[in-house]
């Protein structure tokens, strides 16, 4: 009995990339490309029709964001393995993509050599990411900077939590000060304490963390 081929769906807005990615995947006897799309709406439609095993998704698309698409795809089919293929720096996007439900992140500059490896690794139930990225995650883990359970956030005082939540909702420092009717200086002091407690190195990280926490805890 012939084992059915593993179906892969491509979402990328660049035709040349789609074409040669297809050719590359077809070099593998057990893999096949079952469809492709250049924007999020079409990708959603076709993926629900073709039921692929793996979806390879670019973050920047003609229409819609790749990250949102990943969330929608995971809602559609929790078993679908999504591999993000992006020109964007993994340091900025990988964590967001993985949290959105992707099982792998690969930068376009290393696609050719690594993509098949990544697909196989994901099919084996593992997460694929570059060595430098996994090293940086490991470091964060050792430092306790990965906010998995929100346990670090629990260490914040009520006022600090309020600042953290407002930042996460997209407020600027000035707005936070205004809404809490405190001075900017106070907000900045709170920010310094939050950074210390959550082991964040800078304000940009603080903001990212706050937004992510807010996304994961929308009830707050």
């Amino acid at each position: 009995m012939i084992k059915p081929k593993i179906k892969i769906f491509l979402v990328d807005d660049h035709p040349l990339v789609r074409e040669w990615l297809t050719n590359l995947i077809h070099q593998q006897p057990d893999l096949t490309v079952c469809g492709e799309a250049e924007d999020a709406p079409r990708a959603l439609r076709e993926i629900s029709a073709t039921k692929p095993d793996v979806a390879i998704v670019d973050i920047s698309l003609k229409q819609g964001s790749g990250i949102e698409l990943i969330k929608d795809l995971k809602a559609l089919d929790p078993d679908l393995a999504v591999l993000v293929l992006s020109m964007h720096d993994e340091r900025l996007y990988a964590e967001r993509a993985l949290r959105a439900g992707a099982r792998g992140y690969i930068m376009k500059r290393e696609t050719a050599k690594k993509i098949i490896l990544a697909i196989r690794q994901m099919l084996g139930g593992k997460i694929y990411m570059s060595d430098s990225l996994s090293a940086s995650f490991a470091e964060k883990f050792v430092d306790g900077r990965l906010l998995t359970s929100g346990s670090l956030v629990e260490q914040l005082t009520d006022r600090e939590l309020e600042v953290f939540q407002l930042l996460g909702k997209g407020c600027e420092t000035r707005q936070v000060a205004q809404m809490m009717t405190v001075s900017m200086k106070t907000v900045q002091t709170h920010c310094a304490h939050i950074k210390e407690k959550l082991r964040l190195t800078n304000a940009a990280e603080l903001l990212r963390e706050a937004v992510r926490w807010q996304e994961n805890n929308p009830a707050n």
């Binding site: 990615l21 590359l24 070099q27 020109m87 920010c191 310094a192 800078n202 603080l206 903001l207």
Partner: protein, 379 residues
């Protein structure tokens, strides 16, 4: 005390008129004229009439032996210059009438009845000549003033136009850089990615046939991948700040890190609480200012430590770059370096205040302070 003011300024002005008009007295005269011009026509008319009355009374009180008729000139001059030749003629006639009436009221006896008439005609002629000369001078002065105003206006317009052009030029270069950066990132890099995939397919096909060229195809993949890396870096340099409100923080952080690595200096970026810059162009300018300042610190100041800070307060956002280098020469040379000028220019363009000076440790501190927009409605 409008009347007293007018009287004083008139005296001072006439004094200046009588003196030889050197450059500085000329300027003083203009000052008095400007002072007088602040008063309304009605005030000047009243002041001229009061002056005639005052001189008339003084003339009457001092008796016929003293002639004070020259003092009516003050009122006449005031009338001509600030109201008009017609009113000047009227004040002249009034002055002569008051003068003669004073004499008559004082009971002065003339040997011939023609004498007061003759005197009046002589005085009137004299006043009329003064009125004519003054109105001539006045129209000359007004013409000159109008010309100066016109030329100044043209010059101001030209300066404004030039500034607008400079701004436009900088904006165009900024926009072009961004466009080229985006094309590099979005098109060229994607194209190269497609190329690496194609080369990879080739490599695998060659390898499947056990051909030794497979290794070379593999090398092509590596080379094109390096090309992708190079173009990404190029794109980053052309368009460093991502289009998002926290883009500037991220870009400065990355810049500080790469500068430290590349130039073997300690370059740090500090930002206590999140600073969001919603306008991409503004963020771009702030980034370039920081970049220029850091570049100067390394190149000219030979700094070992550089600190970039971004802070926000109630009413402004402040970008500052401090270093421990050689510092700026003080006072700054008249021909300031291109770098400083461009930083100032960029600050002007985003409406920020720019300063550059020696800091407490002898290095340079540049600061760019941007007034905050009023807060939008809180989300």
């Amino acid at each position: 005390m409008t009347a007293a003011d007018i009287a004083f300024d008139t005296l001072a002005w006439v004094w200046c008129l009588m003196k030889r008009v050197r450059q500085n007295t000329g300027r003083a005269m203009l000052g008095h004229i400007k002072n007088l011009e602040r008063h309304s026509r009605a005030a000047i008319i009243v002041a001229a009439l009061l002056m005639v009355a005052a001189v008339g009374y003084a003339d009457y009180a001092t008796g016929p032996d003293f002639s004070l008729s020259v003092f009516y000139l003050l009122a006449v001059a005031l009338a001509v210059w600030f109201v008009g030749a017609g009113f000047g003629v009227f004040i002249s006639a009034l002055s002569v009438f008051v003068n003669v009436a004073g004499d008559v009221a004082g009971g002065v006896q003339f040997s011939k009845s023609i004498i007061p008439v003759w005197n009046a005609v002589v005085a009137l002629t004299f006043y009329f000549v003064v009125v004519w000369l003054l109105s001539l001078l006045r129209s000359l002065y007004r013409n000159l003033e109008a010309q100066v105003r016109q030329r100044t206006g043209a010059l101001t317009e030209e300066i404004a136009e030039r500034e607008r052009l400079e701004r436009e030029l900088l904006e165009i270069s900024e926009r072009e850089q961004r466009r080229i950066g985006q094309v590099l990132h979005d098109s060229l890099c994607q194209h190269l990615t497609g190329t690496t995939l194609a080369a990879q397919v080739l490599e695998e096909k060659l390898a499947a046939r056990d051909l030794p060229e497979a290794a070379e195809a593999g090398q092509v993949v590596g080379l094109v991948e390096e090309g992708i890396n190079l173009s990404r870096k190029l794109a980053k340099g052309l368009y460093p700040v991502e289009v998002s409100a926290d883009g500037l923080m991220l870009a400065l952080e990355e810049y500080a890190a790469s500068t430290s690595e590349l130039f073997k200096v300690a370059c740090r970026f500090e930002c206590d609480s999140p600073v969001l810059i919603h306008d991409t162009a503004t963020a771009g300018h702030l980034y370039r200012i920081a970049q220029e300042a850091v570049g100067n610190a390394i190149k000219h100041g030979k700094a070992r430590n550089i600190l970039i800070t971004l802070t926000v307060s109630e009413d402004s956002t402040l970008l500052s770059v401090n270093d421990d280098g050689a510092g700026l020469p003080e006072p700054l040379p008249k021909q300031r370096g291109m770098g400083l000028r461009i930083m100032t220019h960029r600050s002007d363009m985003i409406g920020a205040a720019f300063t550059a000076h020696r800091n407490v440790i002898g290095g340079t501190e540049i600061a760019c302070e941007l007034k905050n927009e009023p807060l939008a409605a809180t989300p």
